[in-house]
């Protein structure tokens, strides 16, 4: 359950769409210097790193080539073992953040952006409605 906070977590929730976390931040990521909540802290012993930075690092370190079964770029059938893996509930956020990063990079998927601006994501492709005005601040539930 998201709660509004004066010091909200800067990480994004979601896989197919991205939205603000808005949980209260409790620490600062050593890599991106953004404020993050406990749930979006990657499980590391000696450093405080957010799950998004951890996912980027993991994907940068990954060296295995992408070989698609249909030989096409973009979305399509995937290799066995490339899909999401079974994890414990406490590891779900970090694991999904890593799979999300890998999926966006390798499948060319551009998620819907329903959050506030975040320069950390500026190099990534995503979709949003741009009519030249600022956020109206309303929620999805508004009509």
């Amino acid at each position: 359950m998201s709660t509004a906070s004066l010091d909200p977590c800067a990480c994004k929730r979601g896989f197919f769409t991205l939205r603000d976390c808005e949980r209260a931040a409790t620490r600062t990521c050593d890599v991106c210097r953004r404020r993050i909540c406990d749930e979006h802290r990657a499980p590391r012993v000696q450093a405080t790193v957010c799950v998004e930075c951890s996912a980027r690092q993991a994907e940068d370190d990954a060296v295995e080539p992408l070989v698609r079964t249909d030989g096409r770029p973009g979305v399509g059938p995937v290799n066995a073992g490339e899909g999401p893996q079974v994890v414990a509930p406490e590891d779900a956020t970090a694991s999904t953040a890593r799979y999300r990063r890998r999926y966006y990079d390798r499948h060319g998927y551009e998620p819907m952006w329903w959050g506030t601006h975040d320069s950390t994501w500026s190099g990534d492709g995503f979709r949003w409605y741009d009519d030249g005005t600022d956020d109206d601040g309303g929620g999805f539930g508004d009509s």
């Binding site: 359950m1 998201s2 509004a4 929730r13 979601g14 896989f15 197919f16 769409t17 939205r19 603000d20 808005e22 249909d70 096409r72 973009g74 979305v75 399509g76 059938p77 995937v78 066995a80 490339e82 899909g83 999401p84 893996q85 079974v86 994890v87 414990a88 509930p89 779900a92 956020t93 694991s95 999904t96 799979y99 999300r100 999926y103 499948h107 998927y109 998620p111 819907m112 329903w114 959050g115 506030t116 979709r127 949003w128 409605y129 741009d130 009519d131 005005t133 956020d135 109206d136 601040g137 309303g138 929620g139 999805f140 539930g141 508004d142 009509s143």
Partner: protein, 304 residues
């Protein structure tokens, strides 16, 4: 095997109920489902490992049984009585071991779940948890009884001939193993379905040496289907889309607009030869992603 009993005892009542009933149904938050099903999957993996151990031990006991018989016969012919008696004891012990292992195998098989649907669902739940509207449950119906049980048998074909085979009988099975529904934070209603259809062909022919030979061939068709209903207040269909095949060329999709919503249905079929069915949650992720590719946002909002 005692480790298996201890592990089962460590599960809670709801998890043991899943193991016994082999079906899952109800509504819970996604991560609560994961907390329920994760240990069940771990237990099923242990049962699979135990079955493999039983298989290996049965093979070893059978080899010992045959070897003991040969030694007993040879020593009987050669007149070496002590060796013959010893071999006889080995044969009896091997036979008892085989019987015990078959009983154990039968017991384990009654507990064994169809693990692939469970694995697919457990892998999908963290992703659904990310996008689910806060406090919204995932409605889940999961059938873990197996793809080719008697209950899922649709029927048999008449006997027909083809090529060298003079008698072929096809048996058809249909297993709708998964149905899940969840409302996403953006208002999209997402339905996910998985189905395995099988054709088991029993083929009989007469070989060149005039022997009757029978073989069984299994073909499976796994269908993943995703239905996403996007609310008009947030999304509109991409104007150029008029249905038809999706970018991968292997899937089918249908886009329909109605007052208040845009409905996108995506379907992927995976065909395979062989009795084993391998399911992959990545197909479902792809299909939901395809559905989102068929709409554009209609306003700029921030989720609370």
């Amino acid at each position: 095997m005692s480790g298996l009993k201890e592990h089962r005892a460590s599960l809670d009542a709801a998890q043991r109920a899943v193991l016994d009933a082999k079906v899952v149904g109800g509504e819970r938050p996604a991560l609560e489902w994961l907390g329920l099903l994760g240990p069940v999957l771990a237990h099923d993996v242990r049962i699979g490992e135990a079955l493999e151990r039983v298989r290996r031990r049965t093979y070893a006991a059978s080899s010992t049984f045959v070897g003991g018989w040969i030694v007993a016969i040879v020593s009987g012919v050669a007149g070496v009585a002590p060796l013959g008696v010893a071999a006889g004891v080995v044969v009896v012990l091997a036979l008892l071991t085989i019987v015990a292992l078959r009983v154990e195998r039968r017991r384990l098989r009654t507990q064994d779940l169809e693990g692939e649907p469970l694995r697919l669902t457990a892998a999908l739940l963290p992703i659904l948890a990310e996008d689910a509207a806060p406090g919204t449950p995932v409605a889940l119906d999961l059938d873990l009884t197996g793809h080719r049980t008697d209950a899922k048998k649709l029927g048999k074909s008449d006997t027909y001939r083809k090529g060298a085979y003079h008698a072929i009988v096809d048996t058809f099975y249909d297993d709708p193993f998964l149905r899940a529904r969840v409302r996403f934070a953006d208002g999209a209603q997402v339905s996910i379905a998985g189905r395995v259809q099988s054709r088991v062909s029993r083929k009989t022919k007469r070989s060149q040496s005039n022997k009757i030979k029978t073989k069984i061939k299994t073909k499976t068709r796994t269908t993943y289907e995703v239905d996403v209903r996007f609310p008009d207040r947030n999304y509109a269909a991409v104007p150029t889309t008029s249905g038809g095949p999706s970018p991968s060329g292997t899937d089918r999709e249908r886009v329909r607009t109605a007052p208040g919503r845009t409905a996108v249905r995506e379907r992927r079929v995976i065909k395979a030869v062989g009795p084993r069915v391998a399911l992959d949650a990545a197909h479902v992720v792809d299909l939901v992603a395809h559905a989102y590719d068929r709409v554009d946002p209609t306003r700029r909002k921030k989720l609370r």
